[in-house]
Symmetry: C2
Subunit: 282 residues, 2 copies
């Protein structure tokens, strides 16, 4: 994969949303996909799959403080197409986002759905991942772990409510409220620790997380797992500690000058074998 | 498929590009996909697949007179990823279009690539498919059939040049030049006759095509096939006959008041069993 990942044309393929200036407007664009057997399992309610596909893209806009203008998506026809469309209609109605267009394809084999969301920046400069400065605090908008608990219930292990896993909620209002005040922001899609490391890498700083201060929606015994599970789509951001935050926030750590380790958890570098969260194909 | 196709949320999934007004800007967005085994064959040069994926989307922008601002795409990892990226880099460089971002996914089974192109309208109102009026002429920007000849050569039947099929050229400059002057415009992706019928349907008119006047890049004996083959991406449009067209155009028919038949070819309705061109899944 090295040849691919280092190709100049592939460098644009980060999981971060794109910012595009057109005339006097600043747009935010993001494209995410869900593949059967990878991002969802055959047999899952396709309405939930559609919801999640749209919600994860809208969450990328939330992290940029953008207001969604619409989505386009590619629908690979197959079983339960009407359920998929039901779920898509529900999530788009919930967040008042128009379906602008897209493509329908017929194919055999595992299905793949791609969705592009476009939004209008409500504040410029648009929050990036690279603005964290030493001395700032690290915050989270809410607890993590609810999606993990929901996933495990779906797998049949518990009777925990599964909504958080099936129907994540993009924090669009919170993102817009925070955008003018943060130094850097991203959504937590792959785990608090992994995404905190990405923020630290992008900003050229060290981030030190106090694991006990991370709010979790899971039993205390599962704290370590909750910090490594994605799919909760809370917003992770940094800013001055004396900021009057307009929405509830939880301080979970500090930004420090870049030291030997990019990420510290309770003052220690994580074990090199600790994946910290969910890693994508690249 | 009826339940799916008639669902309110599915109505946005036309193959036409979307027009989005954001602030003072008018944007054009399109998303098309290519699936292995459906839109391309395993074993094809992945650089050609990437070129075509981008070119077909850019062609949708061309038909709207839009200047491309960038693309996002989803790359399903597999064989020859570096060739794919080579081809994508080539087509984006050729048309000076930035890669804004996208997603990389790993999966088994047939691969699927989705690409979204976004452009800025250079003329408003943006040309639609619904503006054709009786008395206007029907035009094409150039010959059709070259992609068919290239496809057949690729299949091993001939030694004809295959470039037209492998690397179609979106007519971006022509689309921008024509946009202020046309009453309706679309790109020919599925065959001149089929797309002419779509234009007539969208405009509520009858279109009468003089088949002998359609320029073809194929032997005369293949004229009927050339009129039913897609992939050439010429622009099909209507307008007043006394227009001083800024680019070479070929008159291929007339717009008439809606009569019993939506499409006439040489004065006759096509045989109901004549598919007229390539039909998508819906």
């Amino acid at each position: 994969m090295r040849a691919f990942a280092t190709h100049p044309a592939a460098r644009g393929l980060t999981d971060d949303a794109a910012v595009l200036e057109i005339g006097t407007e600043t747009l935010v664009l993001t494209q995410d996909s869900m593949v059967e057997g990878i991002h969802y399992l055959a047999g899952q309610d396709m309405a939930d799959v559609a919801w999640k596909l749209a919600a994860t893209n809208l969450s990328d806009l939330a992290a940029k403080g953008a207001k969604p203008s619409g989505v386009l998506y590619t629908h690979m026809l197959g079983a339960d197409d009407d359920r998929f469309i039901d779920g898509l209609a529900e999530v788009l109605a919930e967040y008042d986002v128009p379906l602008l267009g897209g493509d329908t394809v017929a194919a055999n084999g595992p299905r793949c759905f791609s969705l592009t969301a476009i939004g209008r920046a409500t504040f410029t400069p648009v929050p990036s991942r690279s603005g964290s400065c030493p001395g700032e605090a690290v915050y989270l908008t809410g607890p993590v772990g609810a999606a993990m608990m929901g996933f495990e219930a779906l797998q049949g292990g518990t009777d925990h409510d599964t909504t958080a896993y099936r129907r994540p909620r993009p924090l669009l209002a919170q993102g817009r409220a925070l955008a003018p005040l943060v130094s850097a922001m991203m959504d937590v899609s792959d785990g608090v620790l992994l995404d905190a490391r990405r923020l630290a890498e992008a900003s050229g700083v060290t981030i030190s997380i106090d694991s006990a201060s991370v709010p979790i929606a899971a039993p205390e015994a599962r704290r370590a797992d909750a910090l490594r599970w994605g799919d909760d789509y809370q917003l992770l951001f940094t800013g001055a500690e004396d900021t009057a935050w307009p929405v509830p926030v939880y301080k979970i750590g500090m930004v420090e000058a870049r030291a030997r380790h990019v990420l510290l958890v309770d003052g220690m570098p994580p074990d090199p074998d600790d994946a910290l969260g969910y890693h994508h194909a690249r």
